[in-house]
Each structure stands twice: as C-alpha cells, then as structure tokens.
C-alpha cells in the first residue's frame, strides 16, 4: 500500500520527467559511448602522463571524463528506461522499497543473461572524511549488490565499488545537493 502511494508523489513525477529528458537527450548520442561505459581504462603511459598539464598531453585520458559524465543517463535510455541511480537517506545504507521495481528489473535483466556484468558504484555526500566516506559508499554499493544477488543474480555478475565523496552528482553544500549525492549507480560493464 505504502509503495503504491509513493509512486504518485511529486518527487516521483519529477524523477519520471528527468528520466524522459534523459531518454530524449540520449537519442542524440552515439552508441559507441555506451559500449565504453564503465569499462576500466588500463593504466598506461598513454592514459596518464606525468608532470604535464596541457590538454594535448592528456588527449587519451580526456575521453575517460566523457564516459563518466554521460554514462548514467545514456545507460537509462539504452537499457529500457530502468533507473540506474538509487538514492539513500542520510547515514543510511538501506535500499528503499520505492526503488524495488528498478532492482527487480535489473535482476531480471542479469538473470536472463548470465554473461552480462554490472558494476555498482557507491557515493556519499561531501561531509566527513574522504577515506571513511569511501567505506560508507562501499556499504551502499554492497547493499545494492546484495539486493540483486538475493533475486538470483550471480555474485560474479556484480562488482560493488565506491567513489566515496569524490564524484558528486551535483555540487553544493545544501541538503538538496547532499541528497542527490548519496546514491549508488548501476553501470553495465
């Protein structure tokens, strides 16, 4: 009952609008971006150059940034509109009931294709220490990982990692900004 009610809250309507906007914006993007999404870049001299700051020296590396920024929204669009961003309450690691439909959807997608792998990134807001926040983000990622494996997804298909406070979705020191940053993101590998 509670779950049905929450579906009609203004917040959910807003999320729907964001998802729709993401769908539209993603239509203009090339498919190639999604192919690279979430793939780890190898450590090499080509991707990271020492002691240089000019754009040219980091030409190989700058594409990494594009992947990171564009991935979540493009992923939403290209995987049937399932939400990939899961928000958490302050100091909480509980995957909320209201997100269960999306978790179910991802679980079905992954159990249907055992070769498919995802990485779950945990994130925190900026308050507190960087390393401690990294561990808190890991806890969020592992909570989502557990939700998926409880629905039959193989542990090999899901890697839980954390970015702590290092990659906020939005900048700002307001409760609104912090709420958007306390999240886990499911990305295809």
């Amino acid at each position: 009952m509670q779950r049905h009610l929450t579906r009609f809250t203004p917040r959910f309507a807003l999320m729907g609008a964001i998802a729709a906007a993401a769908l539209l914006s993603a239509c203009g993007s090339s498919v190639k971006l999604d192919e690279n999404a979430g793939k780890p870049a190898p450590i090499s001299d080509a991707s990271i150059k020492s002691g240089q700051t000019d754009a040219n020296a980091n030409a190989g590396a700058s594409s990494n940034v594009n992947q990171v920024v564009l991935t979540p929204k493009n992923d939403d669009a290209l995987s049937g509109g399932l939400t990939r961003v899961i928000y958490f309450d302050f100091d909480s690691f509980v995957v909320k009931d209201e997100i269960s439909a999306a978790i179910d959807g991802h679980a079905k997608r992954l159990t249907a294709n055992k070769g498919k792998k995802v990485i779950v990134e945990g994130h925190t807001d900026e308050r507190g220490g960087r390393e401690y926040n990294l561990a808190l983000g890991q806890k969020r990622a592992e909570a989502v990982q557990k939700s998926l494996t409880l629905l039959g997804v193989s542990a090999d298909q899901v890697e839980a990692v954390s970015f702590g406070e290092e990659r906020p979705a939005v900048t700002g020191a307001s409760e609104e900004a912090w709420a958007k940053n306390r999240r886990a993101e499911i990305k295809d590998r």
């Binding site: 991707s47 940034v65 890991q138």
Partner: protein
C-alpha cells in the same frame, strides 16, 4: 639600523621582488609566491633572531633570506628582527653586545655568489648573541634549481643550533589538487613552494602516502573506474598497481621499515584492513569485523596499527597489534573520530574529530590520553606530522577555498601555505631527505 616586525620585513621583501620583476629580471613566480605564506598566532616563547637579506641575493633567482625567515617563523619558535640595514654577510665580525642591546638572541647573515658554471655558492653564518658565541655556518654549492632547498637546509641548521632539535624544513610534502577538471598529485617543498606534479589524471586521486625512503608515493587512483592502490617512484615516474582487487582498494599506509603496506580492501565484502608486501604480494587480512575498518596508520615502532572503525556505532579510532589480535579503542570523546596520524617520536596522535558540526584537527597525548583541539576551523582533513614531530600539516577550508595549513603542536602558530591552485587537499609530510649527520 632599525628593527621592524616580521610583517614589515616580509613587505619590504615583496616590494624589492616586484621592483626586480618590473626591471626585467627574470624572477620566477616561486620567489614572489614565497611571500604569500601567512603566519598567524603568537608563540609562547620565541627566540628573537636578527637577519637581513643575504649579500648579492638579488643576483640569484631565489629569495633565500625570505625563505629562511618564513621557515623560522612558521615553526613558531622564532621571531625575526630585520637587520637588512646593517648589510652583514657571513664574513662580518658583528659586535654581539650591540645586538644583544637591540633585543636579538641570535644573529645570522649570508651571501650568494653566482659561479662561472651557473651554480651558486650559498653561505651563511650564525652567532649566538646571548652566549656571545660563534655558532659556525654552512657553505653550499648548488644549481639554481636547488637554491630553495639550500635555504631550507640553512633554516634546518639554524633551528638545530638554536633549539637542539633537528629541523624539518628541507623536506617535501605531497598533496592533491583539482583544477580545470583534472586531478593533480603534487610534490612541493615543506613550505608549499616549488610544486611539481608527478601525476595528472582525469579521475580523482586521494590518500597519498610517502614511503619511508621519501622516493615513492602510494596513493588511491580512480583511473580504472574504481579505487586502486598505486605505488609510484617520484623521480622516474614508474608506477604499478599494488592493490587492484575486486571491489574497492584504498587507504595505503607504509610500515616504518618500508617493507609492508596496510590497505583497506573490500574484496571479501565490507571494508577491512589487510597487510601486504610493498610490491603487493603476500596479502594477509588483519581485521575481522562486520563493520568498517579503514585508515590504517602505523605506530613509529611498527608494532601496532591505528585505524578507524565503526564497530561501536560511529567512527572511532582503535589500535591493533601489527601481527593481529583484539583491537583496543583509543578515542572516547565525540561521536566521529577519523584520520589518525602518529608523530614520528611516538608521543602524539593527530586526528580529525567532529565538534558541534565542525571537523577539527585534535591532538592526543598518547601517554596520558589527554586531548585538545588544535584549530577552530570547520572542515579540517588529513593531519600529518613533520618528521621532527614539531608541526602538523592539514587541509581545511577558508573563505570557500580548500587550503593547506601548518600548525605547531600547541596550536598557537598556524601558517597558510602558498599554493597556486584553487582546490588543494590530502597533504602528507614526507620524511627527512638528508641522512643524519
């Protein structure tokens, strides 16, 4: 022959520097930037040291005397009296009773001589005015690039001769900056000057840690799309992933002998402490809890490891034997205590504690357990001790900007280190560079 306070001395230096730059002399930015070190606070007892510009200092690209003076002032133990008007150098024979009557306990003077091969001969001499004693000096022949280091070595020499403790100015710090969407790992002199970047990455870098030999840095890089622990040789740039296991890899801490790394891994679920060889081999789990265990910091004798755990609810600092065992809780005041750093002399632990909503560097006397706050700022992070255990470097935020600060252990003297980039964080103080004489 007039004295002025240290601030006036710094202003005088700045004006001279600017005049030189305007006159077409190629004065590097770092020489000017030196004067951006802002020192606040009053020490309990400060030794008044009279000094002026080194003879022919303007013929060298570094503001040597200003570097020496700023080092001495940042330590909190010295008050600089300007003796520029006396035009002394290391060959002078000053009448020490005169200087005593002017309020100086010590007097120093020096010179810089450009050599034909492009190097510089830097000399200085120190007199103990109170004791009426010649304290000797140093003569250093260095290339232009090492002039700043020469000034720091002179400051170290003065510090040791006047206090009996080893100075830690001729050391390096590492920190991280973010600018223009790029993340830079930076290595600089202990005063924040002369920064060089051993790594530029499009992805975040956190938790740099100096190897005890001062030649390698371990840090956490997100360049592969998740946190991995990398060890990099600073001079060659050679780097390798030492912890890239499934999940997150973070918080590297070198054992005092440099042979092992303590790291936080999530490869077995949760964030737990592990030990491994410095090459990443021989991984061994150290903690076994269902809670978060992270931010390992070795005691200087290598026998125990301090770390952060939320096993009791909120994050607190615990200590465990390096060989394993039952952890003992170390912090009891406050609900949020993180980022432990142990002083190399083994007497102190610096850490960050949340106090009424703000995060502040605190200092614990390990023998008594007594704790005091060292700052009144709200966003302190990453405290790290100077190798002589007399100062702490940390990151904080002032006027919306991330900055690096040093503080004395009594919290009285703080210096805002000059950095040219907007957001700086994650400072860590490196070991002594010179072997003990």
């Amino acid at each position: 022959m007039s004295f002025s306070d240290s601030r006036r001395s710094a202003c005088h230096g700045l004006l001279t520097g600017l005049a030189l730059a305007a006159g077409g002399t190629a004065l590097p930015l770092s020489a000017l930037a030196q004067f951006r070190v802002e020192i606040s606070g009053v020490g309990a007892t400060q030794i008044p040291v009279a000094t002026g510009r080194f003879r022919d200092e303007s013929r060298s690209p570094a503001a040597l005397s200003a570097i020496v003076q700023a080092d001495l002032e940042r330590s909190g133990l010295f008050k600089v009296l300007d003796a520029s008007a006396d035009r002394l150098d290391e060959t002078s024979r000053p009448a020490l009773p005169d200087w005593r009557s002017k309020g100086a306990d010590a007097l120093l003077a020096g010179s810089v001589t450009p050599l034909a091969d492009g190097r510089f001969d830097v000399r200085y001499h120190l007199w103990d005015v109170l004791k009426g004693k010649d304290q000797g000096g140093l003569s250093l022949v260095v290339p232009a690039a090492d002039l700043r280091q020469a000034a720091h070595r002179i400051a170290d020499d003065i510090y040791e001769k006047l206090t009996g403790d080893r100075g830690a100015f001729a050391t390096r710090i590492a920190y991280v900056s973010k600018s223009g969407g790029k993340h830079h790992l930076l290595v600089a002199d202990s005063d924040g000057e002369g920064a060089q970047s051993p790594l530029t990455s499009p992805q975040p870098i956190i938790s740099p840690a100096w190897a005890p030999d001062g030649r390698q840095l371990a840090y956490v890089s997100f360049e592969t799309g998740k946190p991995v622990v990398v060890v990099q040789d600073v001079s060659s740039g050679r780097r390798r992933v030492v912890a890239g296991f499934k999940g997150s890899n973070s918080a590297p801490a070198w054992s005092p002998d440099g042979r092992q790394l303590a790291v936080t891994l999530s490869r077995d679920g949760g964030s737990q402490l592990y030990l491994m060889g410095a090459d990443g081999e021989g991984v061994k789990r150290l903690t076994q809890s269902g809670a978060i265990d992270t931010e390992a910091a070795w005691s200087p004798d290598g026998a125990s490891i301090y770390f952060v755990s939320d096993r009791g609810g909120g994050p607190q600092i615990y200590r465990i034997a390096a060989g394993g065992g039952t952890p003992q809780r170390v912090t009891f005041n406050g609900a949020y205590n993180i980022s432990p750093a142990l002083s190399p002399d083994g007497k102190w632990m610096a850490y960050v504690s949340q106090v009424s909503g703000g995060y502040r560097v605190h200092l614990m006397d390990l023998a008594s357990g007594a704790v005091k706050a060292l700052t009144d700022t709200r966003d302190d992070e990453s405290p790290s001790f100077a190798p002589n255990s007399r100062q702490i470097i940390y990151a904080t935020r002032t006027q919306g900007r991330e900055v690096l600060m040093t503080t004395t252990l009594d919290g009285r003297i703080k210096a805002h280190l000059a950095t040219n980039v907007a957001d700086v964080r994650e400072p860590v103080w490196g070991p002594y560079l010179q072997p003990r004489r």
